[in-house]
């Protein structure tokens, strides 16, 4: 699974963005608009790797050496 995600990182980000946006949009239809839709994808692609790096860094620091 990890390897698949690593090999298809960008595609996974797009799918995650799409699934979360569709679910959020069905729940709160005001989100389904010209501004939020495109920004949702850009935010996932730009922010998810940064969040991932941050989490990894925090996890590494917390590991006893």
């Amino acid at each position: 699974m990890r390897r698949f995600v690593r090999d298809h990182w960008e595609g996974c980000l797009y799918v995650a963005a799409g699934v979360t946006y569709v679910l959020a949009g069905i729940w709160q239809k005001g989100l389904l608009n010209w501004i939020v839709g495109p920004l949702w994808l850009v935010a996932w692609v730009e922010l998810a790797p940064r969040v991932g790096r941050l989490v990894r860094r925090v996890a590494t620091r917390g590991t006893p050496t």
Partner: protein
């Protein structure tokens, strides 16, 4: 009203540019051209409700597509006028032609519903429509009923058709295509955006309208057919009934507007589509920047 079709058609236009224009027409301008009609007219169609009082058009279909109203925003006349002003201001054919093609796509697509557009405004204010599905934007039903009716009718087929057109031209969504065809046509825009976004972010931004189209198609269809519990003719139903017949869905009232005969709409719309491409092609050559004559030796 067309929904995700407007998001998909800009990629279809980009993917089917005449050979001499490939890599030279601004994608941003195609998007803006397609975006302009509804940006100018749609807000007041649904209106807003503040403290229980509704503010908006009393007859949304007339306001949106008719005359008097904002129907002129959905005409080749306005799109051509803005494209012409763009050319006079910046002398930038990448933007002028891109805007023209994007706007034309929107105007011609909207002929499909039961209200249509004033195709040959200002020569006549009659609306042109092929009545494939019912126009359903109403002040009472708002966006929800509009979405439910659209995704229960041939509108759904229209969205899927444009999605398939784009998927058949899938290369238009690749990073290589973006680098080779989209960025060179708009170097300033993309380099400015590059100050704030990484390359994956820029590619995502390019693909984001497609992403939005797919997501709204899935989300609204799912809501309309699985989540909503409408009461139609006094019966509560699980989801709105699907009706893929011509002029469907049956469960919403037909709006009336003065129109030309539907029989001549399809051939005229097709002729206009070819005319737009022909005019764009001729203008493209005439707008070519003149190279300075070589200095005499």
């Amino acid at each position: 009203v067309s929904w995700a079709a407007h998001q998909f058609e800009i990629y279809a236009v980009q993917a089917h540019l005449p050979k001499k224009m490939r890599g030279k027409v601004s994608f941003v301008a195609i998007f803006l051209g397609d975006f302009t009609p509804d940006f100018l007219a749609k807000f007041w169609v649904y209106g807003i409700t503040i403290n229980g009082k509704h503010y908006g058009a009393s007859e949304p279909h007339v306001w949106h597509r008719g005359f008097p109203g904002m129907g002129f925003t959905h005409t080749m006349f306005l799109i051509g006028a803005i494209a012409g002003a763009m050319w006079l201001w910046k002398r930038n054919r990448a933007w002028t032609i891109g805007y023209l093609l994007g706007g034309a796509a929107h105007v011609l697509t909207d002929v499909s519903d039961s209200i249509g557009t004033m195709l040959v405004f200002p020569f006549t204010t009659l609306n042109w429509s092929i009545h494939a599905w019912k126009y359903a934007a109403t002040s009472e039903g708002g966006k929800y009923l509009d979405a439910a009716a659209y995704y229960s009718s041939l509108g759904l087929v229209m969205d899927v058709f444009w999605l398939v057109v784009v998927l058949c031209s899938w290369r238009v969504l690749t990073r290589a295509y973006w680098r080779e065809q989209v960025v060179p046509a708009d170097p300033h825009v993309w380099s400015w955006l590059g100050k704030y976004l990484s390359e994956p972010g820029l590619v995502a931004l390019y693909r984001s309208i497609f992403f939005y189209g797919v997501c709204r198609l899935v989300a609204w269809s799912t809501w309309a057919h699985l989540v909503a519990r409408p009461v139609i003719d006094g019966v509560e139903r699980i989801g709105y009934p699907l009706d893929l017949s011509w002029t469907g869905p049956w469960w919403i009232a037909q709006r009336e507007i003065t129109q030309v005969s539907p029989l001549i709409v399809a051939p005229v719309t097709l002729a206009l589509l070819f005319a737009v491409y022909a005019v764009a092609s001729v203008l493209w050559d005439r707008m070519e920047p003149r190279r300075p004559a070589p200095a005499p030796t």
